[in-house]
């Protein structure tokens, strides 16, 4: 009992230490690192969205970039072209991503495993091509430039950092709560055996849809900060490569754990920034790193440590190899009546 208490207080001490470092960070860190930290924070939110869906439901989505694009372009277009003032564009962007997540969720959530991956990839790619093709709205490859961040964030990296940090912590706290709630248990139950959950009478499809929407909303929040930080929204931000970066961060850190998502974002963004300064072959390095991670460490860093008990990649592919879980079965159809 005493020992448990000690561990608990150590943990609180650790958390307090981390928060202290995060808060004091802008005052002692050089600007380059502050810049990097901001990028890690918004990328981290997006990766958490991916990890949530991947870890809790076993669904690897390649259309996260699609939601990213919807939110990012909505904010950029509303602000630059129509000159709408601050609180409205991000809210509409978030709302648009949520609406589209509900719409597309009805299609993609009928599938699982490799089929889900394939279908989401098709939608993600169509979104990317559209952003290139719809030049009257998106301005093609150049994208939309001159998206100004709202007054308080504008020009001040430190203010941006703090607002970003607060939202980031809120997202973590919220996801933490969700994963521990009955809802999180439902999700893991569905991941382990969808048919069992249907038999038990849970509205499986709607639970999945809620998780999908939550994941899209997180992606949208990340996208809004992205647009405000760079001031630009272009098709590169929503290419397949961008989505693979998200996936790489999530799997590298260890899918299904929030800490893994943060760790993965940290590694990938740091690598991203330092490599792009040295070489133009950044995608080659990313591809090779992704290959190595998938082949040798599919459980990621956190999963590989084996100390923390979390859902691992292993359970996902075990589930996928069971072929009956591959497509809509009759049982599943009955499940969401």
């Amino acid at each position: 009992m005493n020992q448990q208490h000690a561990i608990l207080s150590y943990r609180y001490l650790l958390i307090a230490g981390v928060i202290l470092v995060l808060i004091s960070f802008p005052w002692w860190a050089p600007l380059f690192y502050l810049n990097l930290a901001i990028r890690i924070l918004f990328f981290g939110i997006v990766v958490m969205g991916f990890s949530f869906l991947g870890g809790q439901l076993g669904l690897l989505s390649l259309m996260q970039s699609f939601f990213f694009g919807i939110a990012g372009y909505t904010v950029a277009i509303l602000q630059v072209r129509y000159g709408i003032l601050f609180p409205i564009p991000p809210l509409i962007g978030l709302f648009a991503a949520i609406l589209l997540a509900i719409f597309f969720g009805f299609f993609v959530l009928r599938t699982q495993g490799v089929y889900f991956l394939m279908l989401t990839m098709v939608i993600g790619q169509i979104g990317w091509v559209l952003s290139l093709q719809l030049t009257s709205i998106t301005h093609g490859t150049t994208g939309i430039i001159g998206v100004n961040a709202p007054e308080i964030l504008h020009g001040s990296q430190i203010a941006f950092y703090f607002v970003q940090l607060v939202i980031f912590l809120i997202c973590i706290g919220f996801l933490f709560k969700v994963m521990r709630s009955p809802f999180g248990l439902f999700l893991r139950g569905i991941r382990e055996s969808e048919s069992r959950m249907i038999m038990l009478g849970y509205p499986v499809f709607f639970i999945k849809l809620a998780a999908f929407v939550l994941s899209a909303a997180l992606t949208a929040i990340g996208a809004i900060f992205y647009v405000y930080f760079y001031g630009v929204m272009n098709p590169d931000a929503i290419s397949l490569a961008a989505n693979v970066n998200i996936m790489l961060a999530s799997i590298l850190g260890g899918m299904g754990s929030l800490f893994g998502a943060i760790l993965g974002s940290f590694i990938v963004k740091t690598l991203n920034m330092s490599l792009s300064a040295i070489t133009a072959r950044y995608m080659l390095v990313t591809g090779i790193l992704f290959l190595v991670v998938i082949m040798f460490f599919p459980n990621g860093i956190i999963g590989g440590l084996g100390e923390v008990k979390i859902s691992s990649f292993r359970t996902i592919w075990q589930r996928v190899t069971q072929r009956e879980t591959f497509q809509i079965s009759k049982k599943q159809k009955d499940g969401y009546k």
Binding site: L117, M118, M121, G287
Partner: protein, 286 residues
């Protein structure tokens, strides 16, 4: 009327090209539940190899064949060294193919540069032909005929030869085929190599009527995936039907609503997923 006929012919020839790319994809999925996401990269690299061969030799048919063979060899090595160890884990294999697609795309950029390049087609097959009141490039009709020939050859291969029959049996019920003492994993290697060969020649053929350019790999992969979803995963006949539907949809959409042509590709996919999840001719996957 002119636009309508032109769109019809374009749809038909695009469908022919899509069939070459998608048929290999659907067979390998049917056999092992593996989606080869570097199929588009195979296509593009095939186009580039054909381009280099054409510059060196000036012989178009030889370039097509060379691209096909080199990509087939690449597919063989990929299967042996990377995919073979993960046969029972389709998701892992699919992610491996995704990473390879990224690697190949960047290597292509290093070797052949980022500028779009056109493959020259021999004059004999490229003289304009008058059809439905449209002067149509002969080369596109040539593609159609070539695709039909390849389709018939594949059909005969699948129906008559021993390997082909085993492939079909493996798609139907791989456990049963395994139980009969036939190694489905070995059969998969054949299918993967054949699909690589088809993607390679399709790269040269497709590069001769559009451009060979970075980005083509992903767009072709998207088209092929759409085709396979519509036709039904694992169904050869479905890939014929799917490629025609995809080709026609895209062609008519880009004729009448060019800005949204890619959005319309999703329309048949949405209908199929909503109404018949396994695709038009796909069987229920158990």
């Amino acid at each position: 009327m002119f636009l309508f006929s032109l769109a019809f012919l374009n749809g038909l020839t695009l469908g022919a090209l899509l069939f070459l790319v998608a048929s290999g994809l659907t067979l390998s999925f049917g056999l092992m539940r593996i989606v080869n996401l570097n199929h588009g990269a195979f296509y593009l690299t095939g186009g580039y190899i054909g381009l280099s061969f054409l510059k060196a030799t000036g012989n178009w048919p030889l370039s097509v064949l060379a691209a096909g063979l080199i990509i087939a060899l690449l597919a063989f090595f990929e299967d042996q060294f990377l995919l073979k160890r993960f046969r029972e884990q389709p998701l892992i294999v699919t992610l491996i193919t995704l990473s390879i697609a990224i690697i190949i795309a960047d290597l292509d950029l290093v070797i052949w540069g980022g500028k779009p390049q056109l493959l020259d087609v021999p004059e004999i097959i490229n003289s304009p032909v008058s059809l439905f009141g449209v002067m149509y490039p002969g080369y596109r009709l040539f593609i159609l005929i070539l695709a039909i020939i390849i389709c018939i050859a594949l059909w005969i291969f699948l129906k008559k030869t021993k390997v082909g029959i085993t492939i079909r049996a493996g798609i139907d019920n791989s456990e049963m085929v395994n139980a009969l003492g036939i190694n489905v994993e070995k059969i998969f290697t054949y299918v993967f190599v054949i699909s690589g060969f088809l993607a390679g020649i399709a790269g040269v053929i497709g590069g001769s009527f559009s451009m060979v350019a970075p980005g083509q790999d992903w767009s072709m992969l998207t088209f092929a995936l759409v085709t396979v979803i519509i036709g039904g995963m694992g169904s050869f006949a479905g890939s014929i039907l799917g490629s025609l539907i995809t080709g026609m949809t895209f062609s008519y959409a880009s004729a009448y609503i060019p800005e949204l042509s890619n959005l319309f590709i999703f329309l048949p996919v949405a209908i199929i997923i909503a109404a018949r999840g396994r695709g038009l001719l796909g069987k229920e996957l158990q």
